[in-house]
Structures are given as C-alpha cells and as structure tokens.
C-alpha cells in the first residue's frame, strides 16, 4: 500500500516558553526542533502498516528548509522518501497550508499513483489549529477521521478507533482515506544508527509550494500569566507531623 504522512517541524521547548520581543514567534534561540508528537505516532503507524502490508511511505512537510531534518528523521524510522515544501516567510495559516499540501499530494499522486492512506497528526504541537488534515481530506474528497487511537487496514478499508466519553468508537473508512492520529496510538520507535545513516542518503525532494492565500492572520503571541504555586514549609522532622496531619484532614484523605 502507499501511504503519505504529513508532519510539521516544531520547537522542542522546556516548561517555560519564551516569545520573541516582537511577539510574533516562539524564541527558539536555544531550542532544538522536533516533529509534533501526534505526527511521530502517524509516522510510526505508517511504518507498521508498510511492514505489515508492504508498499511505500512518503513523508511530506511544509515549512522552512531546515524541516528537511524532520523528514530525514522520519526516513530513519521507516519512511521511504521525503518531500519538502519549502517556505521562506514563517508560519503559514491552516487554510493556506492545507491548499499547498493538497496541491502537492495531487501532484505526487499524478506521478506515482494515489495514496491509499494519508496520515496527519491530530493537531500540531505549536499552533494547534486542528484544521489542516480535515481541510486536505475535504479538498481531496476523501473520508477522514481525526483523533485516531487505533488504526488498522484490511480488505480495502481502514478501521479507526477513537476514544469517546463512554467507551470507544470504531469507524470503517473505504480507502483511499485520511486519518488524523493521536498520541498513544502506538509507541514510536527511535531511529537506529544504521537507519540514521541510511536516511542521510535517502531521496528528499524539495518542491515549491503553491501560494494561495489563507484566511487567518496571526496578530501577536502572548505568554499566559505565570501560574505561581506557593510552597509552604510545614516544619522539619517529627515536629512537622501535626501540621501534615492537618493538611491531610483538610484534603479529606484521612477518615
């Protein structure tokens, strides 16, 4: 089977996220970059499906030239080739991104044939728009389920599971289809040294993304007010015991 996985290069921050002085970006001066966690699971899902059913998996991204790093990482854990849609003007909004991906996927399918499955992450780790996968599916006229916590393929259909309030929902999608994968669906593998070295030699195409305008414009980024937690020292040693008991009683954990 043929699978396309769409991923996004995002910063790998610590617990405190700094924003640049102009309020337009996350300050990545001292940060590394990674693939959004949901998409790492999408890559792993694709790798497992190809291992099970044979075929080929392509990883596709839209982002800066440096996003080639994320493509090669995906190749090092089982993808076969990468396609980079290089942008030079910062973050693209979901509508614009979706249009460019749709165009790119259409072009890839025109050359090598249709993808049986197009996988996305549930949402990106930085912008969190929850839109791109759905927009692409809609534009391609294919069925789509987001939030997948289980995924298998059999008899020309994808079986997708989602968590619901009262249990699990199971969907059956005729292929070709689009699935948005959620973290937890699998445990992504790490690259091996050999995988890493092979990925350096793998084919990564760099294509020009189509440049249709989108409808969403970023105004400014602001950090939410810092959550402060006051640490109260109840005492040290055995003398602290009564105070600890008081707190536990207050919390209702003692009967």
């Amino acid at each position: 089977m043929r699978i396309c996985v769409c991923v996004k290069r995002v910063p790998a921050p610590g617990s405190k996220i700094n924003i640049t002085a102009d309020g337009q970006q996350v300050d990545t001066t001292n940060l590394g970059f990674t693939t959004s966690p949901h998409e790492e699971c999408a890559v792993e899902a694709a790798a497992q499906l190809v291992e099970e059913h044979g075929g080929e998996a392509t990883v596709l991204t839209l982002g800066p030239a440096e996003a080639e790093e994320q493509l090669r990482y995906a190749i090092s854990v089982g993808m076969h080739r990468g396609v980079l849609l290089a942008t030079a003007d910062g973050e693209w909004d979901p509508q614009r991104t979706a249009r460019a991906l749709t165009t790119a996927i259409t072009e890839l399918e025109a050359v090598d044939g249709p993808f049986d499955l197009i996988l996305f992450g549930n949402e990106s780790a930085d912008a969190g728009g929850f839109q791109v996968g759905i927009r692409v599916a809609h534009a391609l006229g294919r069925p789509m389920v987001n939030g997948a916590k289980g995924l298998s393929v059999a008899d020309g259909a994808a079986s997708v599971e989602r968590e619901a309030d009262a249990g699990r929902e199971t969907y059956s999608l005729p292929l070709p289809a689009v699935v948005g994968v959620k973290e937890g669906v699998n445990l992504p593998r790490y690259p091996t040294m050999r995988g890493r070295l092979a990925s350096k030699k793998a084919e990564v195409a760099s294509n020009q993304p189509s440049a249709d305008a989108g409808g969403l414009a970023e105004q400014v980024l602001k950090s939410p007010p810092e959550r402060t937690s006051q640490t109260i020292v109840l005492g040290t040693g055995p003398d602290a015991a009564p105070a600890v008991v008081d707190v536990l009683e207050e919390l209702g954990v003692l009967s």
Binding site: G14, N18, L31, T192, V233
Partner: protein, 852 residues
C-alpha cells in the same frame, strides 16, 4: 536542610556557589578540615541542579601524561571508592594506527610512573574482554583494570550531607546569585569580596567560592573577576537495548572502550551503550546562551543534539561494534562541559579579588580531588595533596582571559582530548600576543618561536644552521624525538661553550616592591636574605608548608626597592602571591615593570671580552662579582662613534658559562642587540641563541633546577639541594616548616642528575627522553617510591652536547643518590640503563668556567 526557606542568612564565613560534584565535595572537604559557618547555593534543584555533573559519563581513566591530572584522577577515583559509589569496570584504549600504538607505549610509561596497573593487549586479548568488538580493525589495546564508573550525583549528595551534619551548613537550592559585592583593597589595587546577593537575600561573606561549572565566568564577572573557561559541547548518544548488555544485568559489565583514533568512547550503561565523542567540530557557547532549568527541554547543559555533527562518528562506532548499528538512539545530547585556554582547570584565589575563589573547569573524573585541592588551599595557604601550579587560576595573563583567546584555544584543543600530543607541542592559534622588542631582528635571524604562555621566545635560529655542519650534528632517527626540536640547538649550545651566545630574556617578569616596608616584606617572601643595594639574591619562595612556590632572584636596587625577577611561566602566580601576602597598610607598593625593561643574556668564554668592547667598566670578578649588579653605560654605536645607554649588569649564569644578564630599557634593547652582533659576530663567534640551550641543554648539563619541573611544593629546599648553611633570623613564609625539615636531618630524597648509559632501543634506534615524567627504576625494574608516595620520575631531560650523553633529572632516595649508582629509566615502555652523576650536573662540576 533549609532548601525551601525563603530567606538566606545575613552572613556566613564561606559561601559556595554551585552544588555540582565540585561544590558538594568542596563543602565536604572544608567540613573535614574544620570549617564552619558555610552556605551552599545553587540556582537549580537538588540533587541534580542541571549542570554538567547531571549528564556526565562518570568514568575515570586514571592515566594521564600530566602529573596533576593523573594523580588527582587517581585521588578522585579513590574518594568515590571510599563512599562506595564506584565500580572498577576496567577500560581499554584501542589503537587503529601504528602511531597510536606508539602512543600506547607512552601511556604504559605514564601508567608505570603513577603506579597504575596497566598492560598492552593484542587484538585477540581485547576481544576476550569485549567480545562484541571488531578485532580486525584494531592493532592492540591499552588495558587498565582500575578504570572506574562512579555515581557523581550520589557522591556529591553524600559529601554535602556530611557538611550539613557535621557543621550545620545551610543549603539553598533554586536560589539565584544576582551579584557579588566587593570593596576596594587600596594597598594591593585589588577588590575584596564582601557579600553575595541572591534572589532570597544578601549574605555577607569572607570567602566566596565559585564552583559553577560552565557558568563560572559569568558569576566571576559579577565580582569583576574572570574565570577563563567556555561551555563546550561534548556529544553523546545512548543506544540500545542490546541483548549482550542486558544479559549482564548490571550498570556496567564490560570494560569501557576508548576508540582513541576516532576520538570516541563506548561505555555500557545498563542495557545500552553510551557513545561519546570528542571528534566533532568544536561547538562553543556563551554562558548567556544556556537556557534556564525552566526553558530547557532536558536540562540546561543537555542542549539539543546536532545530529549532523555526530554522523561520522556513528559510522566509525558501527565499524568497531557492529551491534551498535541496529540499536535505537534513545537519548542524544549536546552535553556541555567546561574548556579553558590551556586545558587545565581553574583553581585557587582569583588574582583580582581577595577572598573570591575558583573551583571551576573541573570534570567529574577529577572532581573530588580538585575540591580537596581548593579546600586545602583555603585552609593551609597552598594545597597539600599535590602541587597544583598547572591549575592555579593566577597563571593566566590578561591576554589569556578574554573570550577571543578562550574560544580560540578551546577550539584548538577540543579535538586533542584523545589526541597524541607531544610534550613540546606548540599552539597554532593566538600567536604573537606578546613579543620582545627584539622580535623583528629575531624573525630576520630565522627564529623558530616557542610560546611561553603569551610570550614568543626563540627556541632556535635557522640562521645558525651552519653550526650543524660545523659541529657535525645528526638528525634524530625517530620522528617523535625530532619533533619540535632542531639539531641547530646543539650547534648553538656548542658555539656558546666555545665562543659566546646571546639569549633574549625579555620575557622575564619584573615586579618592583617599593616603600618603607619593601625590604622587610621582600625578606618575608623569600628564604634567603635580601642583600645590600647592588646585590641580588637567588632564592626559593616557600609555601606555608615549606615546599617550593617559586624560585627566582630578588635584586636590591635601592634602599626601599627590591625588584623581583621571575620566569614567564610563573609571573602571574608570583604577582598574585605578592598581592596575597603584602601589607595592607600601604607601606609597600608593587609595580609590574615587565614591559619597562628588556634583558639580554650574554654567556660564553668570550662574553667578557665582547662586553668589554662596549664599556670601560671593570668587568673582572672584582669589579663585577658573581651575584652582583653593576650599573654601567654601554656604548652601542656601530659606526665607531658614541651612543650610550644605561644598563645593569647582573653577573649570574643559568647555562654554566661566564657572563651576564644585561638589563636595559625596553626601547634600548634593539641597539644593544645590534651592537653586540656588530662587535661579536665575527670577532667573538657570537650567535643569537635560543631557549633550547638556555632552558634545556645548558641548564641541565649544570643540573640547574627549574620551577615547575624540579621545584614543586611537594619538595623542600633540602631535597632540592637549594638549602643554605644558615637560616636568616627574619621571619618568612614557610620558615617553621623549613626549620623543622632541617632539624629532621638528612632529607629522604635528593634531586639528582643521571646520565643515560645506552640510548638505543630494542630496534637499535637511538631514543631521546623528553623529560615527561618517565619513571626511574631499580635494576629489577621496580619503580622507586619514597615513604610519602612520591615517585622518582624524570623532571627534565636533555641531550648534553658538551658531555656527549643524555642527562636526566630526578628525585632519588638518598641511598640511591650516590654517584655511580646504576639504575634504569623508562621511555616509550622500554628500559634504559642510567647512572647517577650526583646532585649537580655532569658539565664542569667544579664551576671553573664561572670562577675568575
């Protein structure tokens, strides 16, 4: 522990900043030495505040060619063993090249000197110990069974808790230092530390110790001081799991492998293998670029892995251990560690700020030992466990403390971490930082420069190449012995002994002590008595424990002025020593006069006649006696006319031939050079002569001692043979210990010269000792240690052109110091027969050349 307290105490005797392996061990050692009223701070949480300790690879290879690093490595390993946080897993350095196999012979030599068990292995023997290694690509290995893996975080916690329990030390984690306050110390021109300001309050302190690892320079800058180090990346990747490792059911079940020729190591970590590299491009960071604990994805010093830099090492790692290829890279970081401009740590009191101490640029492998060094230094005035002059932070001159220099040198030596470094190897970057006024003339004469800290000094002159033919001197057979050496040096030596030579000594460091208390203070610094005006005193400066801190001359130039003349390698340390001890009442001032004067040494049998061409002054031993200074005017005209310059003639010799150190104004030095060459070149055989003669062959033929080589704080003047019949009545630093040593009778060891009886190796090649701590052995091959554990090792070595033999210097037990005693010396893991000459050198033992 008052970890969560919101405020710090208002004062403490000692504030230690940094709770990594160094700060924690320092607290523990200070507590053991009786210190109390201490506070330990860290910006991060405990037990892992986020510094380099937290991601260290935690293994110790106890062999190093450098004495301080080797012995403090062993000392540290033992301290980890003492608290039971250490496993002896063994370690193997494997060689892929013949050059590395030769280096492993040197490693064997150093291991023998430091008493570390080691042996060379064949590839098959390596494979027996490490079954998953590819023995087809290695030529052999150097195996050291006492290589250990330690738990540095836990050890730090134990030391810290010891200080808390025994002294009530207060510990504040998550506490950021915002400023270090100082006040003027008028008499010395330094600052004096007064307080540490944190986000939890201000602490007045008498001692502040910076043990902040990669952040140390930034913290020191708060006090107006510098700790010259830079955070640098060391990449490592954890790959696994692998069955063969998992099956050991052990954190470390196989010896650590250092793949020396690829600058990488493979160290088991439970079921995984940690692959670490010193092979990638140097990646340096400014401390301000290090994220905070909150901002960092992992920890502040575990920076994002830059995979491209590591890829070449992965191929090499797979080549060595096939199984690594299919294991997963689970964790990979650009780990930060500290690098300094000369690859040695920064220990001791910051020379610019009284009371501010540095315990920085120390890695886990030497952490506890280095902490002990600093604790003893603070307690006793100088370390006892070892002479730490190589790590003394006062060694750096101004040129060595700026970022440009630190970055350039750190970049240059990073890839030499596992490199094969010749003892005389010169730096490529940052040359010509300080040159003598004679530099352009020396360049014209084809000088080959060696850099002494910041100073360029000619080692030999290519324009003297004709001397090689004149004296029939051969190149050396083995490239290593020939490296950083020229047969011209031998020619310059023989020419000086036959005619005369001129040595540029402008790099001497000169400090004027002036004021009503100057002579008394000068006498307090030194062992021998400061003489009357016009006399110079060659004297040791002792540590409070009676060992050598310095060895220099002090010239009484006026009633209230004494000029200190010391070597370029120790100028910074000696100036800091002066400022540490000088009276704070203003009765003495110290002025650096190094760049005011230039010194030319003129020596050789024809030196007196040549100098007489420039002056009518009485140059006889009556008019210019040995050890005396005569002020004269020299006629430096080269056209038959008259052009007079002032000069001070100091009759002394460090090469064993008659002559003078001639002190002139800096700007007059070129005129003196030209005049001496004009009158001397043809008529007296004068040649410019390099440091290869002055500091090495000329000196060692006479057995003259050198500070930092023969003279270290572990030895006293009696052992060095530099004691005098009487001890002056005035008090001086180290006097009590010196008197005690004298009263104890004959010293246990004596500094001796030995000659090499046969310098041919097992392949019939002549080999030449480099003076790099090669061990001396008895005829049965036993290394010689004294009752203090001090090993007999080569402190200096040279080929003596005038005696036709190699000469070694070493401390020997008194019973072996008898002339004629037969011993052995090791070089490149082979033993050579040697004979004791005695406590003096073999050339002109009666000093006939220095007498009238």
């Amino acid at each position: 522990m008052s970890d969560a307290s919101s405020t710090v105490p208002s004062s403490a005797k000692v504030v230690i900043i940094g709770a990594g392996i160094v700060g924690n061990c320092l607290a523990g050692h200070l507590a053991r030495l009786g210190w109390t009223d201490m506070v330990l701070l860290d910006k991060g949480p405990l037990p892992n505040p986020g510094g380099s300790t937290g991601h260290a690879s935690n293994f110790i290879f106890p062999v190093d060619h450098n004495k301080e690093m080797a012995l403090l490595g062993v000392q540290s390993a033992n301290q980890y063993r003492d608290v039971d946080r250490s496993v002896d897993c063994g370690g193997i350095e494997v060689a892929r090249t013949q050059e590395r196999m030769d280096e492993l012979q040197r490693r064997m030599t150093s291991a023998t000197a430091w008493g570390v068990e080691a042996k060379l292995l064949t590839p098959a023997e390596v494979k027996e110990l490490v079954p998953f290694i590819n023995d087809e690509i290695i030529l052999g290995g150097f195996y050291c069974p006492t290589v250990s893996v330690v738990d540095s975080l836990d050890t730090g916690t134990l030391f810290r808790n010891e200080a808390i329990e025994t002294t009530g030390m207060q510990v504040f984690a998550n506490t950021e230092v915002l400023d270090i306050e100082t006040e003027d110390e008028t008499a010395t021109g330094r600052q004096r530390v007064t307080a540490v300001v944190t986000d939890k309050g201000r602490i007045e302190a008498e001692y502040v110790v910076i043990a902040c690892g990669v952040w140390s320079n930034r913290i020191a800058n708060m006090a107006g001081a510098t700790i010259p180090l830079v955070p640098a990346v060391h990449q490592m990747a954890d790959v696994g799991p692998m069955d063969v490792l998992v099956e050991t059911n052990n954190e470390i079940g196989y010896p650590i492998v250092r793949d020396m020729d690829t600058f990488c190591y493979e160290r088991q970590s439970a079921g995984s293998m940690e692959v670490g590299s010193y092979a990638h491009r140097p990646i340096l960071h400014h401390p301000d670029e290090i994220p905070s604990n909150d901002e960092a994805a992992l920890s502040p010093t575990e920076m994002p892995f830059t995979q491209d830099d590591f890829d070449p090492q992965m191929e090499q790692a797979i080549e060595l251990m096939e199984m690594l290829g299919d294991a997963e890279i689970k964790y990979a970081i650009n780990g930060l560690l500290s690098l300094t401009p000369d690859a040695m740590p920064c220990l001791g009191e910051c020379p610019d700020v009284d009371g501010l101490w540095s315990a920085a640029a120390v890695w886990v492998k030497e952490g506890p030992g280095m902490a002990q060094v600093v604790a003893e230094w603070m307690t006793y005035g100088y370390p006892r466990v070892i002479d730490a002059h190589g790590a003394d932070i006062a060694r750096f001159y101004d040129h060595e403390r700026n970022d440009e220099h630190i970055w350039a040198r750190a970049s240059e030596h990073f890839n030499k971490t596992y490199g094969i470094v010749h003892p005389a190897e010169q730096w490529e970057s940052r040359r010509n930082l300080q040159v003598s006024p004679l530099f352009s003339r020396q360049e014209e004469a084809g000088a080959f420069f060696f850099q002494a800290r910041t100073w360029e000094r000619p080692q030999w002159y290519e324009s003297n190449a004709d001397l090689v033919e004149r004296y029939g001197i051969a190149e050396r057979e083995v490239e290593w012995d020939n490296r950083w050496w020229s047969p011209i040096t031998v020619g310059e030596h023989l020419n000086l002994r036959e005619h005369c030579g001129m040595v540029d000594l402008s790099a001497f460091h000169l400090f004027d002590l002036e004021g009503p208390g100057a002579v008394e203070f000068a006498d307090y610094l030194c062992v021998n008595k400061i003489g009357p005006v016009g006399r110079a005193t060659y004297t040791p400066w002792l540590t409070p424990d009676g060992g050598f801190h310095s060895d220099l001359t002090m010239q009484r130039v006026d009633d209230d002025c004494v000029n200190v003349v010391t070597g370029v390698f120790d100028g910074g340390r000696d100036l800091a020593w002066i400022k540490h001890y000088m009276p704070k009442d203003g009765s003495v001032t110290v002025t650096d006069r190094t760049l005011d004067y230039s010194t030319l040494g003129l020596w050789g049998p024809k030196a007196p006649a040549l100098l007489a061409e420039l002056t009518d002054a009485d140059l006889s031993h009556e008019g210019s006696p040995y050890g005396g200074i005569v002020k004269v005017q020299l006629n430096v005209a080269t056209d038959g006319g008259t052009q007079l310059i002032d000069a001070a003639l100091f009759r002394i010799s460090y090469v064993g031939d008659s002559g003078w150190e001639i002190y002139v104004d800096w700007d007059d030095a070129p005129k003196l050079w030209d005049a001496l060459m004009h009158h001397g070149r043809d008529a007296y055989g004068l040649r410019p002569t390099g440091g290869g003669v002055y500091g090495s062959s000329g000196r060692i033929e006479k057995g003259y001692r050198l500070q930092g080589a023969e003279l270290e704080s572990e030895y006293n003047p009696l052992e060095a043979g530099l004691d005098r019949p009487k001890v002056k009545s005035a008090d001086f630093i180290g006097k009590e210990a010196y008197l005690a040593a004298r009263e104890a009778g004959d010293p246990e060891v004596l500094m001796c010269c030995l000659t090499v009886d046969d310098d041919h190796d097992s392949q019939g090649r002549r080999r030449f000792f480099q003076g790099g701590n090669e061990p001396i052995m008895d005829l049965d091959g036993n290394v010689i240690f004294d009752s203090h554990g001090r090993v007999s090792r080569v402190t200096s070595a040279t080929y003596g052109p005038s005696v036709g033999q190699q000469i070694l210097m070493a401390y020997l037990p008194r019973e072996l110091a008898e002339p004629g005693t037969k011993l052995q010396a090791m070089y490149w893991n082979e033993r050579y027969p040697v004979t004791v000459v005695g406590t003096d050198g073999p050339f002109d033992p009666d000093n006939t050349r220095l007498k009238p």
